[in-house]
């Protein structure tokens, strides 16, 4: 429970930072998805699926902050978190390569899933423009920032980790 609360709180904090302090973007007006990076970190280190629940909570808050319909980012974030949890079973965390691949991979997954969501829900839903230069910038930026977030959060990893109660002797 603690890991879910801390992960979702940290991701929500990142969402507020994205919408205010980073609102002008970094390159070409593109905002790095720091919240997604935090959720990927949480999902990667919590193999029990707590990161997915944190992603769902943070996604709902993202929907409230955004002009998107409720459930849109909840679905995208939960899917990426699920993916990161599955990846954690087949590889170990390293300094840069795995976080970078997770960040870029999650962005691509979000891009494709947003296209699928648009097909099924006809309301005012926006999809990523996968073949635009801006998406390329976002891809690289998310990869780099995920590396940075993984590095920074590794110092406080114990707060994000699920710590099961020890069995009584």
């Amino acid at each position: 429970m603690k890991s879910i609360l801390i992960s979702s709180a940290c991701a929500i904090l990142m969402l507020f930072i994205q919408s205010t302090w980073l609102s002008h973007g970094i390159v070409l007006g593109i905002i790095p998805d720091l919240a997604l990076s935090v959720l990927l970190f949480s999902s990667f280190i919590n193999k029990n699926g707590h990161g997915i629940i944190a992603a769902f909570i943070a996604g709902i808050v993202a929907d409230m902050l955004s002009a998107s319909p409720l459930g849109y980012f909840a679905f995208l974030f939960s899917s990426c978190a699920y993916l990161a949890t599955l990846v954690s079973y087949v590889t170990e965390k390293d300094v840069f390569v795995i976080p970078f691949l997770l960040g870029t991979g999650a962005t691509i997954v979000m891009g494709f899933l947003s296209r699928i969501v648009v097909l099924f829900f006809s309301a005012n839903i926006h999809a990523y423009k996968i073949f635009s230069a801006e998406f390329g910038v976002e891809l690289i930026m998310n990869g780099l920032f995920t590396g940075l977030i993984f590095f920074l959060l590794s110092f406080v990893q114990r707060f994000f980790e699920h710590s099961p109660k020890k069995a009584l002797p």
Partner: protein, 283 residues
């Protein structure tokens, strides 16, 4: 000891993921049909308040840091300003003459910009946290009389330009859809030839807008830099608000209309204050 359970994700992980994904899709389904009132209230008071707080903290720090560096340049600026002052005194005389002339011409032509409208000034405090949605958040909501679909303009470098429209209203904040949003559409026309078309954003702040449905017959008269204004035919935007200037244009094969890039009249990357236009009670 059973080692097999460590080789892959447990059933519980899949179950949690399934619950979260199904729940989010269910919420998405409901929210795209009807927005529940409770999330609106939460968004209006809690989220809007938090966004304002974050913007205030950001503004406090940027102003504090900026003040220190400004002190250094104030001395230099002071001396330069003294010189400029003399220049401006001369210009002021010209300005008074021009103002009187302008007033006279306006009375003659009965052309006042947006007559009978109330303008509500607002500060842009936040942006959409994602890159897919390009909405902006302003610090005025239904408490200040903002309503959905009200047009928004801004003044920049002496130009009154279109910024977008209100798409969501909360208690003390509102969400504004800028004209570069991929779902933004407005009835527009070329100011010179009065040909009507439709303006549409491409989703990115630095990308030009698209002016659609201008017949290919207009190609000979069209020039780069031609002004595009709102036509008012959509009943949302008042007519004659500047949208931007024509950039590149081309004719696609097998198409009956031109593809025209329009550079927005207002630079939306440095927009801070906007005016929401209240056209009065709408029936």
């Amino acid at each position: 000891m059973k080692n097999s359970r460590f080789h892959g994700p447990t059933r519980a992980v899949h179950q949690k993921a399934a619950v979260c994904l199904i729940l989010s899709l269910a919420i998405l389904f409901v929210s795209t049909k009807t927005m529940a009132r409770i999330p609106d209230i939460f968004k209006g008071y809690v989220i809007g308040g938090l966004q304002k707080s974050f913007a205030a903290v950001s503004s406090f720090f940027s102003r504090s840091i900026g003040a220190v560096s400004q002190l250094r340049s104030i001395q230099k600026d002071y001396e330069a300003l003294l010189d400029k002052m003399q220049d401006y005194e001369l210009r002021e005389r010209d300005f008074v003459v021009l103002k009187e002339e302008n007033q006279r011409l306006k009375e003659l032509l009965d052309l006042s910009s947006l007559p009978d409208t109330k303008k509500i000034a607002a500060h842009v405090i936040a942006r959409d946290p994602s890159n897919t949605y390009s909405s902006l958040v302003i610090d005025k909501g239904y408490d200040e009389g903002i309503k959905k679909y009200m047009p928004v303009i801004a003044y920049q470098d002496g130009i009154e330009g279109l910024v977008g429209k209100i798409i969501e209203v909360k208690a003390s904040t509102s969400v504004l859809q800028p004209l570069y949003d991929q779902r933004f559409f407005a009835a527009a026309r070329l100011a010179k030839t009065r040909t009507e078309g439709m303006i549409n954003g491409q989703g990115f702040r630095d990308s030009p807008l698209n002016l659609l449905y201008i017949p290919k017959g207009e190609m000979d008269q069209l020039k780069q830099g031609d002004v595009v204004v709102t036509s008012g035919l959509d009943q949302v935007f008042p007519p004659e608000i500047m949208v931007g200037r024509v950039g590149n244009f081309r004719l696609n094969e097998f198409s009956s209309s031109l593809v025209i890039d329009v550079q927005p009249g207002v630079d939306l990357s440095r927009i801070e204050y906007v005016f929401v236009i209240d056209k009065g009670p709408s029936e």
